[in-house]
Symmetry: C2
Subunit: 295 residues, 2 copies
């Protein structure tokens, strides 16, 4: 394993423990709800957003215990969005991370409530994190709320809903993804940099520019994988965007141009970090890792 | 109108404006989502939880601008819970506050997302409220998150789901309601007292005891109204608990004993406030107002 792979595996393992600790135990009433919440969050997932929190934290010399709460919070929001996104009234999907989705394993109402409660838990974790100062916690609550709400992730999902069956231009598709997946990725990076020595406004702008490129990169790669990988490898239903007549970078640009776009986005993301030197090594490696999945 | 009625009408009007300001305009993309959020929150509702925030604020000499953010936040959480509770996979209700429910007026997926985004908005409002100190805001975020999540409101809804068709004892029913409606009412009162001069631990305990009694009172009254009022007067489908075979205070105790219970809870609630004298006049009058609806 490379040094980056070691770091990634160690961070993923740390996150599994941290997430398990920040969720109520299954033994606590109502057990079925807590079971469903733990099922939705634990035992799977690449933890890309927590990895971004930890990698961004290295830019500001943040301590690991101070990075755990925002890493958990952003992953809880991501997990809640997947639970709701998989519901029959949304994408109606039965497979996620190689397992039955929450409403299949439990039931529709429990999945709805589990998603609701996971979102709440994210804010409870941030508000109660003794490892962070009050200003840091408040900035993180504001950052995560802004990114998750109607002007961020939820807004992107609505734009996605409205787009089914529509012919979108590339800028329109980009607008959707900047909200749907980009907002939470930007929030992850931003929260990581809030956990240590504050950045100058100019440096914060550079990091945010990186995060925007990385967010789009992540979505382009996801679209490429959805079109080129089988369900077993993916751990979720493959080809479903095409089946649902949803616009993707592959459907709009074609596979070759989508791969070129991924390379261009990676280059722009790495360029934005160039002034930071070795402090940005993890964040750069993480962007490269995300991109590599599609090449 | 009595002085209390004047105060209630003025506070409700203030809340209508405050809620309208804290929601994104319908003109903002995605318009359909913002429309649905505004539809769910504005133009109706008794605003009981905001009234509790404002009444509790009088105990600690809180200024009105400092009470608006927690009053809005708790109402946004309440509104989100109604949107999700009315969905076909939950109570499957078509009428709320005399209007079609959100999934009927819009669609199922939009209602799901609107509820999700309303919850997020509650935390965004609290985190960004310049009228409050950082410590106050963080305490309110923690209070609201704890009350709304799996160990509060969402947990109560799961207990409710699990109870359909079951025979519950009165203590089991009470356990459900302490979570389902009681937690948010306690949070409303607690947030109101966090917005002014801090209470002593003993006084905070008295106020919390009041809030627990008031929360149960509210539920007993709701059950009595559900069993005795027609749909047009209620503005939501009447008799639906009975139709859904859900246990209520009326089904377990009978109507006469439920009314006696409401009187006893009111008395206990008022007793808890007795040491505060005139400072608690609004909070006492509000509890009496809630109770009076059932007599």
């Amino acid at each position: 394993m490379t040094d980056f792979e070691h770091w990634m595996a160690a961070t993923q393992e740390r996150m599994e423990g941290a997430l398990a600790r920040c969720l109520p135990p299954s033994s606590q009433v109502p057990a079925r709800l807590h079971d469903a919440m733990r099922y939705a969050v634990l035992g799977g997932g690449k933890r890309v957003r927590p990895l971004l929190v930890f990698a961004a934290g290295e830019l500001v010399d943040a301590r690991a215990p101070a990075l755990e709460p925002p890493a958990c919070a952003v992953e809880l929001v991501h997990a809640y969005s997947l639970v709701h996104d998989d519901l029959p009234c949304m994408d109606d999907d039965v497979l996620r991370r190689g397992k039955p989705t929450v409403h299949v394993e439990f039931d529709y109402a429990t999945a709805l409530l589990a998603g609701d409660a996971l979102q709440t838990q994210a804010f409870e974790v941030l508000a109660g994190s003794a490892e962070l100062g009050e200003t840091q916690r408040l900035q993180m609550v504001a950052t995560l709320a802004r990114a998750a709400g109607s002007r961020g992730m939820c807004g992107g999902q609505q734009i996605d809903l409205d787009a089914v069956g529509q012919v979108l231009s590339e800028p329109e598709l980009e607008m959707m993804h900047i909200h749907k997946t980009g907002a939470l990725i930007r929030a992850a990076v931003h929260m990581g940099t809030l956990a240590g020595t504050p950045l100058s406004a100019a440096d914060a702008g550079r990091v945010d520019h990186f995060a925007k490129q990385a967010g789009l990169l992540f979505q382009v790669v996801d679209d490429i994988l959805d079109a080129t990988t089988d369900t077993a490898t993916l751990g979720k239903t493959a080809g479903k965007d095409q089946a649902a007549d949803k616009p993707t970078y592959v459907s709009i640009l074609g596979l070759a141009a989508a791969r070129t776009k991924a390379r261009d986005l990676l280059e722009a993301a790495l360029e934005a970090l160039s002034v930071f030197g070795a402090r940005a090594a993890r964040l750069s490696a993480l962007a490269q890792f995300i991109a590599r999945r599609s090449f």
